[in-house]
């Protein structure tokens, strides 16, 4: 019991430090991609920048706008943070049970349920600010998040069908047993999950919520100081969460690359937690990369993509996985089928996207 409590406290602390340094990494990588240095002044290559930012945010005045519902206004960021951190209780960080706080047998359902409750923080925050920009931002954000939650959830049906369990550790165990990662069996679901994951965390190119040009800053327009930073912690925690789910459900969790190839077994020297972190780091890099590369899409395009493209595509994936399970199609042929379906779907969607 004591061990679990200490483990939880340790995990939350590590998570918060990691989040602080993701903001640093984001600014560094964005800087490099725009041929500049990024933060350089505070510490060696700006390594102390997150701490300086934290101190700055803590000493900023917290303004509650006139006419705002001050209790709800102050509670909203806490709600968002709580439901961004709680799902991490069921995430296994490596193979041994020690690396997981609690192995609940409905892990995946719990993650989905808890993380979608975080939406309440956004609605409450946007509505209670008594600012038009905040209200618009909150409404857009929620419409976007519920629209993309459908493909996100349906994309996770595939891994559940293949592993026959909701437990996150059993999900990886199933991939270990099968000898292949689920990404190869359902690249379609993986692509859909990635896209809707980016939309779910309100990141570029789906950051209609913030849309600086028109909405100032979306639902946190009126937030300043610590309240603002709590919202940001929650956003980055959600990014890590989506990356962790993608890693566990599609990329074999803490397994090394090519787990069945014998001569690569020297890679086992690297601890499992490192492989897990590397895979999460890859997804986080992808988030930042997208931010540096893509322009924001329009709101009607966003809805078009979510409902008319991702949703039918992800239903097709369920059909494919179901057929694979019942007709013992040779693995190689099935790989080819899914690969070409994915390429076809991506090509079709990108061709018809700007109608």
């Amino acid at each position: 019991m004591i061990a679990t409590i200490m483990k939880t406290v340790l995990m939350v602390n590590i998570l918060l430090v990691v989040i602080a340094y993701i903001t640093w990494a984001e600014r560094k990588i964005l800087g490099r991609m725009q041929i500049r240095h990024g933060p350089m002044r505070v510490g060696w290559h700006g390594l102390l920048q997150p701490i300086a930012d934290g101190v700055k945010l803590a000493t900023k005045e917290l303004i509650v706008p006139t006419g705002a519902d001050s209790l709800l206004f102050l509670i909203a960021p806490v709600i968002t943070l709580v439901f961004a951190l709680v799902p991490f209780a069921v995430i296994p960080f490596a193979g041994a049970p020690v690396w997981q706080i609690t192995d609940v047998n409905i892990g995946l359902l719990f993650i989905l349920a808890a993380s979608s409750l975080g939406m309440y923080g956004i609605v409450i925050g946007g509505w209670s600010s008594n600012s038009k920009y905040s209200l618009m931002g909150a409404l857009r954000s929620v419409a976007q998040m519920i629209s993309y939650e459908v493909p996100l959830i349906l994309a996770l049906i595939g891994p559940v069908m293949l592993s026959g369990s909701f437990s996150m550790s059993k999900m990886v165990a199933a991939q270990e047993q099968a000898g292949y990662w689920f990404i190869f069996l359902q690249p379609l679901a993986f692509v859909v999950f990635l896209i809707s994951g980016v939309a779910e965390t309100n990141r570029v190119p789906f950051d209609m919520v913030e849309a600086e040009g028109e909405l100032v800053c979306g639902f946190h327009t009126e937030y300043s100081g610590m309240a603002f930073s709590v919202f940001f912690l929650a956003e980055y925690a959600n990014m890590i969460l989506i990356s962790a789910i993608a890693t566990l459900c599609f990329l074999g969790g803490w397994q090394r690359p090519f787990p069945t190839v014998g001569f690569l077994s020297f890679l086992d020297v690297v601890p499992e937690i490192v492989w897990f972190s590397l895979k999460i780091g890859f997804f986080l890099f992808l988030y930042i990369w997208l931010r540096a590369t893509l322009p924001r899409i329009r709101y009607d395009q966003l809805m078009y993509l979510g409902w008319k493209m991702l949703l039918p595509v992800v239903l097709l994936n369920i059909f494919l996985v179901g057929l694979f399970k019942f007709y013992s199609i040779p693995l190689l042929i099935y790989y080819l089928i899914t690969f070409f379906t994915t390429v076809g779907c991506v090509a079709w969607c990108s061709k018809h996207f700007y109608e």
């Binding site: 303004i63 706008p65 409404l139």
Partner: protein
């Protein structure tokens, strides 16, 4: 069995504690110098006009309703996905029919323009 969920409860209170501590603890160091102009809602520097807690576009509710339909579908699909191997081929066909009916619903919403943002 339910003790599995206790750490989750603990993490819930811990996260709530951290959030509250950040919000409250900041008040020890942050300045407090408020006046009417500073506290007014941001509206590009002009005095805010009217109240923001207003009625909004009904478009959002249409999406909320379609979302409800598909979310309930996801609930059915999840409980099916976990046992469908044991239920056999019949369950597979049955669920495919279920999804087909939902796709018909989606097509209907599509045809009616409910998925069209704009007018």
């Amino acid at each position: 069995m339910l003790t599995n969920y206790l750490p989750i409860l603990f993490l819930f209170f811990l996260a709530a504690g951290i959030g509250t501590a950040m919000m409250v603890g900041g008040s020890l160091v942050r300045p407090k110098n408020q006046y009417a102009e500073k506290n007014s809602a941001y509206e590009c520097g002009i005095d805010p006009v009217g109240d923001a807690m207003e009625r909004v576009k009904p478009r959002y509710y249409v999406y909320a309703m379609i979302f409800l339909a598909f979310d309930v579908e996801a609930v059915f699909l999840f409980s099916w996905a976990i046992v469908f191997e044991r239920l056999g081929f019949f369950a597979l066909v049955e669920m495919f029919l279920f999804i087909l009916i939902l796709i018909l619903g989606l097509l209907y919403a599509w045809y009616k323009g409910a998925l069209q943002w704009g007018n």
